[in-house]
Symmetry: C2
Subunit: 536 residues, 2 copies
């Protein structure tokens, strides 16, 4: 589909060797305005070490052409998703070593080609391996501009446009969530957004924590479901909390946190003298894609004055669709929300936001006096635009432009269609799975666009009705997915992840979000698994 661009580039490349000559002798090319040309020729301000400016021009041009061609060409279904090589072999095939001398542009271009050749094509319509995928051209365009403008989003002084843009985005997202007021920030990844939520919740409950530290405060405990993301536990350890004080709340058989268990645990821990300060609910769990019951959890959090956070990193994008936003019902009652736009909304990596309904909490929790960066005697503008005081980091990469560009291009409506297409594909897949004797869904009705299922090879199908109670059968079944995965990787035809969960042996987790994915890709997935696993 990027045909005309690629054809243009190729044709131009072949046709215009010595284009500078072409311009001067005017053989068929339109004339470049003299003023523009003068401007450009004046532009020699310093030489890059080791290369002449002209050759750098050409190098850049070739890399960009290669990137666009390889990147967007890799979306062809008959291209492999991966050309897999084991680490040692790949090391031998590529020249990755660094040394004293620099390399020629020819050599660098060879390296670039190898990088593309051996990298996984996450933009490929048959990449279903992670909670990200696809290559959105508008998001990509935003990335390229971000790369060129190469700045850090901490002060208005060095990032005026991006600071306004981030503000617009955050306010737009808050409106979609249903926050009447609030604040937010982009974070380097969903784990970090969750960390920020936990940090805010703790600051809110213990406003003097900065001065006192954990040792002079009561025992504080937090809650997450047994299917909640592992970042909650990792973050707690970083924050100085013992693992045992991260209370795992039981889930029902659909993977949703049991509100009743949550309340029981809260009461039990309060009885022990501990202070519950944080509940992590989830919108779209990592494996099963379950949405917690936000209204009920919000009632409990309100009752016990606990900060409610929703990790909607994966499933939050359902908010964009009139048809599916009911899944997030009650989410607006959360004190803070993690929402990754680099997942179902297909913004390029990384794009994760943390939103809170408390307008002042970010600055209150994170601001310290830093005169070299955040001058308070600036006369040029209102320094509340220096948003670097709201976060834990100092420098922060601009993540807003790629998302803004995508959003501006597609509008709420375009993004809604994209999200609905992902849900439609997932629903189709679930229906097809039910029709095939060799497949079995883990949840009878998947809620989000991750569809979890077992493939059961022909020789094992007799045991299918009783397998849950048979340990030997489970052990056998748990070996099926890894072997199919190995074959899939070697063939490079598609990529899907697998994992066990609790007492459930290894099963596949299909993740659908790329808007290029069609129903026949879903059929292909099932057919391919049957081809790869029929002999097991």
């Amino acid at each position: 589909m990027y045909s005309s661009f690629i054809v243009n580039s190729l044709a131009i490349k072949m046709a215009t060797n010595g284009i500078k000559h072409s311009i001067s002798n005017g053989n068929g090319f339109a004339e470049v305005p003299a003023t523009k040309l003068r401007k450009i020729e004046n532009g020699k301000n310093g030489t890059l070490l080791g290369s002449t400016p002209d050759s750098i021009d050409n190098f850049l041009k070739e890399v960009v052409e290669l990137a666009l061609m390889e990147g967007f060409k890799s979306q062809e279904r008959d291209d492999p998703v991966v050309r897999f090589e084991k680490p040692d072999e790949l090391s031998n095939k590529m020249d990755l070593e660094l040394g004293d001398g620099g390399e020629s542009h020819e050599k660098l271009l060879e390296c670039c080609k190898d990088i593309f050749k051996y990298s996984v094509k996450t933009g490929h319509p048959r990449f279903f391996n992670q909670l990200y995928g696809g290559l959105d051209p508008y998001g990509f365009a935003g990335q390229v501009i971000t790369d060129v403008l190469n700045t850090s989003i901490y002060t208005y002084e060095v990032a005026p446009v991006f600071i306004l843009m981030e503000k617009v985005l955050l306010e737009h997202m808050m409106k979609i969530i249903g926050y009447e007021k609030g604040d937010g920030t982009f974070c380097p990844g969903g784990s970090y957004s969750n960390l920020m939520g936990m940090h805010l919740g703790r600051c809110r409950k213990f406003p003097d924590i900065k001065e006192k530290g954990l040792r002079r405060l009561p025992r504080m405990v937090l809650f997450t479901s047994e299917h909640g993301h592992y970042s909650v536990k990792k973050n707690a350890a970083l924050m100085g909390l013992p693992t045992d004080d991260v209370i795992k709340v039981k889930c029902d058989d659909r993977g949703k946190m049991c509100p009743k268990s949550l309340e029981e645990q809260i009461l039990m821990l309060k009885g022990e003298g501990a202070v519950p300060f944080f509940v992590n609910a989830t919108a779209g769990t990592t494996v099963l894609g379950a949405y917690d019951r936000f209204e009920e959890i919000a009632d409990i959090c309100k009752k016990y004055q606990i900060w409610m956070h929703v990790d909607a990193a994966w499933g939050g994008s359902a908010l964009m669709s009139e048809k599916y936003k009911h899944l997030c019902k009650g989410m607006h009652r959360a004190d803070s929300i993690t929402w990754n736009q680099h997942k179902m909304m297909m913004a390029p990596l990384q794009c994760s936001s943390l939103l809170t309904r408390h307008p002042e909490i970010l600055r209150k929790c994170n601001s310290i006096h830093v005169p070299y960066l955040f001058q308070t005697d600036k006369t040029t503008y209102d320094t509340s635009y220096d948003i670097g005081t709201k976060i834990i980091q100092c420098g922060r990469k601009v993540d807003s432009l790629k998302l803004w560009m995508l959003w501006k291009a597609k509008g709420n409506t375009g993004i809604a269609k994209q999200v609905e297409k992902a849900f439609d594909n997932a629903e189709y897949l679930a229906r097809e799975i039910k029709k095939r004797p060799g497949f079995r869904l883990v949840l009878s009705e998947p809620e989000c666009t991750n569809v979890c299922f077992w493939y059961i090879p022909p020789r094992m199908r007799d045991g299918i009705t009783t397998w849950t109670s048979e340990d030997g059968y489970k052990r056998d079944l748990s070996k099926v997915a890894p072997i199919i995965k190995e074959r899939m990787v070697e063939r490079g035809s598609m990529l899907i992840g697998y994992q066990p969960l609790g007492d459930k042996p290894n099963f596949f987790r299909m993740v659908v979000m790329n808007e290029k994915v069609e129903h026949n890709d879903m059929d292909f997935v099932l057919d391919e698994i049957e081809r790869l696993g029929a002999d097991l």
Copy 2:
């Protein structure tokens, strides 16, 4: 200097309206091989919502051309570094709002032009405002490829090339530092790298902290110099430590931490029953650019069994130069080091590394069992390549390729020259400042490439010899830099930061690293400040 690319693009754009037709009728263009063409035409797999594929092609092509032209053209000295507008005015001049409908490509391109128009040109040779700057074409090329390949560097399964590349880079950097063995990771920014260093130091001293948490462990204290980066304090708060337990060690008049004071403070706190677990030394402080005395600090840390971290985010790149690496003498004795390649090495933002001489500590401190992502029953490769288990985050953006590309292109030697050029410019600037009556250096001999100085307007020069004791004079002097800064911003001729430090009133901090900067840019800076401030 990007003349030929830009001229090519312009000429091509003007000459090739209707290029598809040109190809089919062959009027002057070389033929595209038939197989290639077929391949490209087959590539229509799905339609992007709201636009036809052809128009997306053109849009992408135009954005990339614009980005390259604007980004690299902005390096002209006669272009403004910034076209400043106050937040409200800028909001009015740009169309940033998001809504239900999407926008046309024409509209989006207008927005892109505005983004460039009003953004600060950090690649401009007269941008001296932050500890980053410049736009390295090799780094940029690496970014574009990273953007196209859009993956997360946690498993070899989805990032095979990048995982090997990061390994090569980290090993290369460890060799340069002088680590015989060790490990490392890239982090989203220097504050985060410092956080990781603190986290590792705490895990090392209290291996059972995950289970026990801070409340069941002794009081733990850490040390940093009064000029150390503010992230140490912010990170400590996040980690649950009270601010008072971040001990600020005195500096000498060159801005270096006093080892004697450090040892005294350690002894005092041990006497109080506290456990010192972490010392943060600095290679190139944020404002003055001072390098701490690493050998002496290492001796103290060894004696009291304290984790020694060096925040070399800014000054670590001196390691690249035979001439300047003496500044980092003894740094290899540190347990961990933060080194930002997006600063003096000019890698695009963000590129920050954390290195440690303890090979197992990253995984030991951060690994938890996460079956859905880090399958242990994989048969395709050695899962020690799944480096996501070594960090706090889950997904992580690929920061290695941009740095690798830059390093591969320039080699150690090319980077050394670049770093030495920055030092040479700073030394030249310091010499010129000494010659001019209106200027006064804050440190008589700057160590790194940040040069701090006051500008003293003509009417105030009489007081220059006694100013340190005169409070009224100080107050007057502290108003000079903000006004000059305001005028500089309005004029857009250059950007330099200022701040007070301790009892020193506002002074300018010039930061030099961009390899395009020449001695006459240093002259320009001083001349321009004189022009802007002569009437004050």
